[in-house]
Symmetry: C2
Subunit: 361 residues, 2 copies
């Protein structure tokens, strides 16, 4: 049995956040603006989110007694990253409302389940093949003209657990590296651009969809996001319908991110993230209600906020030593700097982001 809330959470209630990174930090800050207390659960000391939360628990994500104590101390539980064990979520769902639900997490954690789910909804996805053996891989490559992207079904992010395969790939070495992990092979997609869709949904079934955001990656890590994405009116309308369809099918509560390819054949869903998303950071400054406040509103049973973008925006991630440019960014007009409180600027580490606004055209 899972616990469902019966009324909106009043200000003063405590929002439990699993995960201590920058997404948790910005969720905690947004929750505080609405008068909520926050409790961050994570295994790292001095985590970005814990620095700004009312309470924090330092424990592993599999530590059931610690999770029990955490759940007992809060009014609702959410999470900032999708690699939390589903069993931890189902465990807590017996005691407190957890949003998004374990179902959304299960779909998002497994690329095969995810793609199959989208296909069952009759949404466009890239051609994909289930890979459980070297034989599967060779057969799938035969079907995709020897090219494709091999991805582990689970635990991939920012390009990790991915191999671009072509005729010249050292297949044996890659199979060895894969080490028996379940995987999928995706056919290559000649896409025009990558976009993300952010949709918020509350338990009453209301949705609020943000305008599509266009993303540019560098070295498999998000570099810039721009609102609005370059889409035709038809594409924009399809995107919104698609986002709402997925959120409804998952009976989703919270903010859901959907990454898509724009292709000549239409929109293809690449992957979903059952949480606020890096590409949505610009909504903080460009929209009346940003994704962090929106997520808190949704899981608290509040009316959803106004997702309308009052300005156009470009968000740039500051990775590793990019953060040393903070004085330059801080001096620019109509520019919003968000720094995550991380002590070590390791190469590629997401340290901050900056959003530049411009008037709508």
């Amino acid at each position: 049995m899972t616990i469902k809330p019966t009324a909106p959470l009043s200000p003063g209630a405590c929002i439990g956040i699993i995960g201590g990174g920058q997404l948790g930090r910005m969720l905690a800050l947004a929750a505080a603006e609405l008068g909520f207390q926050t409790h961050v659960f994570c295994p790292e000391e001095n985590a970005p989110a814990a620095q700004v939360s009312t309470f924090s628990t330092l424990a592993d994500y599999e530590d059931k007694p610690a999770l029990d104590q955490f759940a007992a101390s809060v009014d609702v539980v959410t999470y900032e990253f999708e690699n939390i064990p589903v069993s931890s979520v189902t465990h807590m769902e017996q005691h407190k409302p957890v949003f998004p639900s374990a179902k959304a997490l299960e779909v998002a954690q497994d690329r095969w389940v995810e793609k199959s789910f989208m296909r069952d909804l009759e949404l466009g996805v890239t051609e994909f093949y289930d890979i459980t053996s070297p034989q599967d891989l060779r057969a799938a490559l035969d079907a995709t003209n020897g090219e494709g992207i091999l991805k582990t079904r689970r635990f991939g992010y920012d390009g990790k657990g991915q191999w671009r395969l072509s005729a010249s790939s050292q297949l044996d070495a890659i199979i060895a590296e894969l080490d028996g992990q379940a995987a999928i092979l995706e056919a290559l997609v000649p896409f025009e651009r990558e976009i993300s869709l952010l949709v918020a949904r509350n338990a009453a079934g209301d949705t609020a969809t943000y305008e599509a955001i266009e993303n540019v990656h560098k070295n498999h890590i998000l570099h810039t996001s721009t609102l609005p994405a370059r889409l035709s009116a038809t594409q924009a309308s399809q995107a919104q319908t698609m986002a709402e369809k997925i959120a409804d099918a998952l009976d989703y509560v919270g903010v859901l991110a959907i990454e898509c390819f724009v292709t000549p054949q239409g929109l293809l869903v690449n992957e979903i993230a059952p949480r606020v998303h890096n590409s949505g950071h610009l909504t903080q400054d460009a929209c009346h209600c940003g994704q962090f406040e929106q997520h808190i509103r949704a899981i608290a049973g509040w009316p959803l906020g106004d997702a309308h973008a009052h300005s156009e925006a470009v968000m740039t991630n500051l990775l590793g030593e990019d953060i040393n440019d903070w004085q330059n960014w801080a001096a620019q007009k109509a520019t919003y700097l968000h720094i995550y409180g991380k002590a070590e600027a390791n190469p590629g580490r997401k340290m901050a982001h900056v959003t530049r606004l411009r008037a709508r055209r």
Copy 2:
């Protein structure tokens, strides 16, 4: 000797905030967005600011050893209210930079010093009289046609320590209530409206001035603030010049609030607050850089932010049980709700504010 900073504070540095109320809370949240840690010092348990700060100290404002320990743990000290003892500030100034300086605090804490300071700057002030005895009061009332507002020189706020005097006043009773406190008598001013000016200044002497904000009080407590205030272009320009003149004269660092009366004879300075101000809350949502971030930038030695208002705005304070309307406010478009995390909704207590934006005309 007072300590002055030599370079801008880097993200990760710790901002010390004296005072645990909603102003401290919003300062701490703004500091966190810029990647700073925060340390809140206040005597109340579970204070609004302490709920969102990285560290907190529970001690009295006169507790010198606790203040020493606090100052040692932070990189810069600021405060969210002006009734902190000047001696506590001068004490800490020996160890760490404190902004605004003790001088601004001394001027703001004493209505006679404050009004004299403005008069010396050749700025308009209401006619005022130093009251140190019942004889002084009677003589002053003779000079103001028997009418005026008697105010204690120190520790007044939201109408406390004030008496409206007229021919029918029970002067003996009021003198007894005053109980020998130093006071001033102000002549009545037939003003058209009340406005506040917010100016930020950093140690380099750069200033950023917000457009004038028009205020409406109810029962001596701020009810609504509106941007822009209804001023002629000449008045608006005078207001800006006046704000910068005061900030420069105080060698001010931080955000300074100046409350003025708009009269047919020009602008009269009523009082100043050496801190972020309730009437400036709308800048959070209507301006590129709100007063809280601006104050943090100023005291951290950062470039000042963009004070331009991208939208018009009306802010309404939610006092006491007004907070029970939160669901109604939360459902409105282009409306920003800020709730302070206070457990008890006592009558007249500032619980939250709501800012409604509209497009500039």
